[in-house]
Amino acid sequence: MGYTNLRYYIGGMADWAENNGTIERSDATLAAPHAISAPPSNDSRRFAWLEMLADLSLEKLVGVWFGMIIAFGLVYWGAGIGMGWGLQAGNTPVKPDLNGLWTAIYFSFVTALSIGYGDVIPTGALRAFAIIEGAAGLLIFGCVISKLVSRRQEQLTEEIHRTTLDDQLDRVRTNFHLVFTDLGSVQQLQVERGVLPALVMRRLESVVRVFRGELQAVHDLLYRSQVAPDEETIESLLANLVICLQGLVEINDSLADATSPALKAGLRSINTLANEICGECVPHAYTPALKESMDQIQALAHRIG
C-alpha cells in the first residue's frame, strides 16, 4: 500500500514466545478500542452497579437521587410506626403522623446531602440506614456532577473540532482557487510564447507544491477525519480538485519533456496521493456522484507524474 519502510518478523508470535519474549495481554486493542468489546474482567464486574449508575443519563440520575431520598424518608417514617424505634427530634420521638412524615423526609435530605444538622437524629437500626443513605447520596451526587462537567466538555471539544475543520476547509478552498488562477495564467503564457521562461517554471513548481499540500489535506479529510464534513463540502472540494488537476494535466501534456526535475517530483507525489482518492478506497461510503468524481481524480492522476 505504498509503505516504504516495512519489515517482516518471520518468526512471529511462536518464535517470540519460544525465546522467552515478554508477552502482553490486553482486553482491547490499542489501535481500535471500539472494534472489539472485550469480556468484562473481574474488576469491572464487581463494580457493575457503579458503572450502570454512571451510564445513566443526567435526568435519570437526578431521578434516582430524589427517589432514593424519598424512599429512605419513608423507611425512617415507617420504622417509627412498625418497630417503635424511629427518629428523635431533641429528646422526643418523631410521631408517625403527617408531620412526622415531613420530618422524616427532611432528615433524609439532610443525610443524603451530608449536611447533618443534628436537630433530628436516628436511633437504633436507623443509624445504619442513615449511614448507607449518606454514602449512596454522595456517590450518586458525584455522578450527577461529573455528568454535568463532562457534558459541557464534550460540547466544547466538538466545537473546537468544528472550528478547526472550518478554518482548514476555508484555507483549502482559497488555495485551490489560487492554484487554479495561477495555472490559467501559466497556460496563457505558454500559448503566447511556446516555451516557459525559467521564472515561470519556478512559479509553476511552487504552484504544484501548494496544490500537493492541499491535496494532502483533502486526502486526510477523506481518510482519517473524526468529524467528517458533509457531502456538499466534499463535493465542492472534489470539484475544485478535478479542475486544478485538469489544468495540470494540460500543462504537463504540452510541456512534454521541457519540465524541471523539481516539477517532475512534485507531479509524481501528486500522482501517488491522488491515486488513493477513489470511491472504493476511502473508508467512508459516499454517494455515487461523489465516487464518480473521486474516480475522475484518480484517472486524471494517472496522466501526470
Partner: protein, 80 residues
C-alpha cells in the same frame, strides 16, 4: 476502479530479527503491527504492538498508519 496495490507477499519485504525488536521495544519510531485476529491478539502479543487484522488492513491501514515512510514491523502467529 483500480485500487492501490495491497500488501505484497511477505517474502518481498526485508526481515527483522528477534533481537532487534527486543532492543527497540521502547523505540517509538518503530511501529510493531500484529496482523492476527483480535482474539489472538488479546491473548498474547509483543508488548507495545498494535492490532491490525489482515482482513482490515485495506480499510484501516491508511487511518492507523497514515505515514507511508513510517518504520513498520509486521508479524503474525508464526513462520508461515
Amino acid at each position: 476502479m483500480v485500487k492501490p496495490q495491497t500488501l505484497a507477499p511477505a517474502l518481498e519485504y526485508p526481515t527483522i530479527s528477534r533481537e532487534e525488536i527486543l532492543g527497540r521495544l521502547r523505540d517509538r519510531a518503530l511501529v510493531i503491527v500484529n496482523v492476527m485476529a483480535p482474539d489472538s491478539f488479546n491473548a498474547a502479543h509483543i508488548p507495545g504492538s498494535i492490532n491490525l487484522p489482515v482482513a482490515d488492513v485495506e480499510a484501516k491501514a491508511p487511518r492507523i498508519l497514515s505515514n507511508l515512510a513510517q518504520e513498520i514491523v509486521v508479524y503474525c502467529a508464526g513462520p508461515t
